[in-house]
């Protein structure tokens, strides 16, 4: 039961690759179809850390309008940028946390990069949907207290590419204890993915 007392559902997402492998770092959203959007959840501040030359989390899902901080936990500077249409910004070489967080007010995929570290790549999935999560290592994500009603669901994984058009799935949610929705993600053909940070001591990219 949600705090408001409206009947709520547990929505469990299971995201898998085409080969059946559980996919972590998949953004999952549930957007109500009923007219009149419910009150948005309290705006949270988003945080994307840079730890050990890696964006943590790799994929962050935020509500549009969220301001995201980008603390640099490393003792080297980073130059965070994105040229994604949803948000083009850059945080020139900095240490610590920039004073101003970055507000992401457009839905879409924002690809983060570091100008001086080619391999640093992260994603911020900005959504208008009130209910969203990111899958864990088991490829699963749980949305609790989702009011019953009609929703469209969507899962996005970086392997689909930043421009992937969302494939919404419409569902009717009721008060069942747990509703599992399986999504199979087809990796975008031809899209190149770069590996993450090389291991310390490794000679180069490969």
């Amino acid at each position: 039961m949600s705090a408001t007392g409206v009947s709520a559902a547990e929505l469990v997402f299971r995201v898998e690759s085409a080969e059946g492998e559980p996919l972590a770092d998949a953004a999952v959203v549930a957007e109500p179809l009923a007219a009149g959007r419910p009150a948005p959840r309290a705006r949270e501040a988003g945080v994307v850390d840079q730890i050990d030359k890696t964006f943590v989390p790799h994929v962050a899902v935020i509500r549009s309008g969220t301001a995201v901080k980008f603390p640099n936990r490393d003792d080297i500077r980073h130059h965070v940028y994105s040229f994604s249409p949803a948000k083009t910004f850059e945080l020139p070489l900095y240490k610590g946390t920039p004073a101003e967080p970055v507000v992401f007010d457009q839905p879409g995929v924002v690809v983060l990069g570091c100008n001086i570290h080619d391999f640093m790549q992260g994603y911020i999935y900005v959504t208008d949907a009130p209910y969203y999560a990111v899958t864990g290592a088991d490829g699963g994500a749980r949305l609790s207290g989702v009011p019953a009603g009609r929703y469209r669901l969507h899962a996005w994984h970086p392997s689909q590419g930043a421009d992937a058009a969302p494939a919404w799935r419409e569902v009717e949610l009721d008060d069942t204890a747990e509703r599992v929705e399986r999504f199979v993600v087809e990796a975008a053909g031809g899209g190149l993915r770069l590996r993450r940070a090389p291991r310390p001591g490794a000679a180069g990219y490969r």
Partner: protein, 633 residues
Amino acid sequence: MRFRSFQARLLSFFVGLLVVVQAGGFLITNAANSDYARRQVIDSLRVTAGIFERLLADRNASMLEAGRLLSGDFAFKTAYATREPGTILSMLQNHRSRIGADVMLLLGLDDRVLADTLHPGRSGVAFDQPGLIDLAYADARGEAAALVLVDGVPYQMAVLPLLIPHHDGWILIGFRVDDGFARALQGLAASEVSVLGPGAGGPRLLASSLETERRRELAAAATVLPEEASAPRVMALGGEEYLSLSVPLPGIAGQGLSALLQRSLDRALAPFRRLQWVLLGLFLLGVLLSLVGGAAIAGTVSRPVWQLARGAARVAEGDYSQRVELHQRDEVGELARSFNHMVAGLAERDRVRNLLGKVVSPAIAEELLSKEIELGGEERQATVLFADIRNFTTLSETRAPREILDLLNTLLTRFSDVIEAHGGVIDKYIGDAVMALFGAPLAHEDDPARAVAAALALSGAVDELNAAGVLGPQPVGVGMGINTGLVVAGNMGSRQRLNYTVLGDGVNLASRLEGLTRVYGVRVVVSDATRRAAPGFAYRELDWVRVKGRGQPERVFEPVAPLEALSPRRRTDLETHARALAAYRGRDWGTAEALLADLPDDVVRRLYLERIAAFRAESPPADWDGSVRFDHK
């Protein structure tokens, strides 16, 4: 000519050998050199191909390097993010000129052209070489490079992903593969480089380091684009022979570009050609020297040999004065020396022979020379003639010795001529007497007749000489005795000094008979044996004698004349004489006298008349057989 052909044989052998060896060597080295040059050229073409591929690979690598830098360039990404075609294009132009590329493009992930420095107006169209992008997708790093044709011009194009930081597009960088590139490669590898690509109606020449004329020829000659690296072929360009190696160039499937690497075979062979000329020169020089040297050396053999042959021919004709003077110290010189010695020996022998012939008669000389000199003789029938010159001693008192010898020699020469003319042989001269042989050492059928004829001839000769007044105021006489019988003929004396002569009773008798000529006042007295053996003459029986040392009485005769030359008068006289002799022997003195009276007066007639007168006074003993004894010689 014999020797010409020896010289020719020698020369033709050696020159021929030289020609064969040289020609063989020439051909072999020629073939080996050509082969070597070819292989060298092919090797260097292969190296050139390697360099070419390497150059392309290096350029690809540097393009990708530059591209990577570009892709990571923040300003580039920022400009790109504006999505403004104009901005993007100008930025691309900027970067293109920074890195000196000939073309740069930017493509979206949908393979659409965002900016193209070659075609500035073109934007939003599909990229016309999607194969290149496919290659990039196949690569782990998303990079690729290939040769592509853009507006028919070959470009070395590199493609790499634009990362912002995610893959959002493609950066393409291209360099033209043009004449400059070909010439740069030519400068490196010293091979002619040409790039052929597909064209309507056959391969098109896209780039080349060749100059205009040869380019045209090549463009005309290229008929097919090889799919794979092929074996080197020979092509003629501008009159020179080129070895050509085709190397297919990495491109997109179906683009079919290939590089043609060429090297002038003629130029590679040039040093060998020079060598060939040198070899040819040496060869000709060798032939010349062989000819000259061979002729000279052959000459040192053939000329002397020719001289020797001519000399030998003259020697064969009897000219023993021939000498062949050669001043060589070799075998031929040795031969000439031997030849000269031989000729000298022949001359010597000839002289000795002549001398021998003079000392003894030629016939005896021949006999002596023909057999081994042995002492000893053989028994044979022979006719011996002794001729004694009368009144010669008287002659000698009135004349000088030299004159006497000359006269004697004249006479003896004449005698000798006559005797030899009749086939007789002078055995020896004994002072002013001559002993001659008929039937030894050489026998004829009619030796006795020859002897008698010779005697008559000798008598005539003496008359002639007397008549000519050659022999002095006083006429010279001659007495001859001839006997035919068994003698021993042979070499008498010692081994070092011998005489060919005859011995025996028969010889002695002849000598006695000669002595008898004085008695009967005749010139010639022959024995009965001789008379019987020479029946062609008319004889007058002189007497029946017993000579000292012989048991049997001998009838002795005087040859009067050849039968056919006998005058009737003489014949009658001979008959009368014979009857007279018969009467005498029959003791019929009267008849004998009467008959003798009819005969011309001569010593014989007077002798018999004396005898008859003596016998009339005192009768001969009862056992008187008509013979008369001579006890002295």
